[in-house]
């Protein structure tokens, strides 16, 4: 008991001397800086932001040619971001025999909260084209892929930015990067909180 008290007293004296010395003060400043830096890094890495977005978008597609006399197609886009999961669903109905669609599912790789842009790491889950497909070249353009990029189980990095969120009218604009394609979409549900 006496030994412990003496030992504790000795350590207290030594630590007081260390803290009061120049070297000790320097070490203290470094330690505090390291602690703050480490804490901030840990928070940034491990705190998972919760994002929930569901967009429904419809477009009239003149995807054969601007001056073509063909009737427009109905193009639909569904984008869902549910925490770390994301999915993209395209559908094109051109009154032809076969409906064209493409379904991509995967994860949210990175979120830039400042610009509200999401980097998605998706995998092609389902594809259906008709002959002389209109959706296929459109997706090559929108998702910035090469010709062989759009295949089943192919991994696709996709970046999409959410602009002009209008809560009153439940609308938002989606912008695909780097293709610069825009969609005005209905926001089915949105929840953004940490």
């Amino acid at each position: 008991m006496v030994k412990r008290t003496l030992w504790a007293r000795r350590w207290r004296r030594r630590s007081r001397r260390l803290v009061q010395s120049t070297r000790g003060k320097l070490a203290l400043v470094f330690s505090v800086m390291l602690l703050i830096f480490g804490g901030a890094s840990a928070l940034e890495r491990w705190v998972t932001p919760h994002h929930l977005w569901r967009f429904t978008c419809h477009a009239q597609g003149y995807l054969s040619h601007a001056q073509s006399h063909a009737a427009p197609s109905d193009v639909m886009l569904l984008l869902e971001i549910d925490h770390q999961q994301a999915s993209l669903h395209y559908q094109l109905d051109s009154n032809a025999a076969l409906l064209e669609f493409a379904i991509f599912q995967g994860e949210v790789a990175h979120v830039d909260l400042g610009s509200l842009s999401y980097q998605l790491a998706l995998v092609t889950k389902a594809l259906q084209w008709q002959e002389n497909s209109s959706l296929h070249p459109y997706l090559i353009n929108e998702l910035s892929l090469n010709e062989i990029g759009l295949q089943l189980l192919a991994r696709l990095p996709i970046q999409v930015q959410i602009l002009n969120v209008d809560s009153d009218h439940s609308r938002a604009t989606l912008k695909f990067i780097p293709s610069n394609n825009l969609w005005s979409c209905q926001v089915v549900s949105a929840d953004l909180h940490h």
Partner: protein
């Protein structure tokens, strides 16, 4: 009164060195000289004023020049080294007690008053550089969503249409299509929309049109996707505007 690192206690005739915790009990002559300097701080006190010691309740007497100089240098020596230039003896003139130390700011690495060793200095600089590099590598440039061409088109009916064109590849193409669209809109009998945004794809094959009608109770929105063969040529005609239901 504070003189550098010393405290002059006039009542008790003490000059206390706070750095070393020592006290100097001033005799009558020393007290008189210091009191005069303190009373006329910032001014040159003439030698003859300092030599004529007049303390209340005591007989006035004269100090010799040598005694006065000895007292002055004694006081200067007592002040700590960093404040020793607070009192200056000007030969044949007088003595001045400066209000503040004329400090020569020591450099961090200069001996003997070095604050840090070279190694410590290097470690701090190195750590700061690493931190700055780390922060810089995590900074991503801002992503602007600003239209390349933004204008208001006024139709013959007096309707104002907000026109925005986005083209990250070519400002000339953006202006070309904005001009074309503006011209054609002005020729329309009736434009159904209040805001039209057009975005040219980077592969130059598609145009996204976002149409908004906001002048009614229920807003209307419409997307139009158009495949374009030549982005450098205008494709927007009256016929086309009617076909996509922009004009009616």
């Amino acid at each position: 009164m504070q003189i550098g690192c010393c405290w002059f206690d006039s009542e008790r005739r003490l000059l206390v060195d706070q750095a070393k915790s020592t006290q100097w009990h001033l005799n009558d002559n020393e007290y008189w000289v210091l009191a005069q300097l303190v009373q006329h701080r910032g001014q040159v006190v003439p030698l003859d004023m300092l030599e004529a010691v007049v303390i209340s309740g005591e007989i006035a007497h004269q100090l010799s020049h040598a005694e006065l100089v000895s007292i002055i240098y004694h006081i200067i020596d007592y002040l700590c080294s960093s404040h020793s230039n607070l009192i200056e003896y000007i030969p044949e003139q007088g003595v001045i007690l400066y209000p503040m130390t004329q400090v020569k700011h020591p450099k961090i690495l200069d001996l003997p008053t070095r604050l840090l060793s070279l190694g410590q200095y290097g470690v701090i600089i190195g750590a700061l550089l690493v931190l700055l590099f780390f922060l810089w590598s995590h900074i991503t440039p801002p992503m602007f969503a600003k239209a390349d061409v933004l204008r208001q088109v006024i139709t013959p009916q007096g309707k104002v249409i907000q026109l925005s064109v986005f083209d990250e590849q070519s400002l000339q193409d953006a202006i070309l299509h904005a001009n074309c669209l503006s011209t054609q809109l002005r020729l329309c009998h009736d434009v159904h929309w209040d805001a039209i945004s057009a975005a040219m794809s980077t592969d130059r094959h598609y145009v996204s049109l976002l149409l908004t009608q906001s002048n009614k109770a229920v807003w209307r929105f419409k997307n139009v996707k158009v495949r374009v063969e030549d982005m450098h040529s205008p494709f927007i005609t009256q016929q086309w505007l009617h076909k996509v239901d922009i004009c009616g």
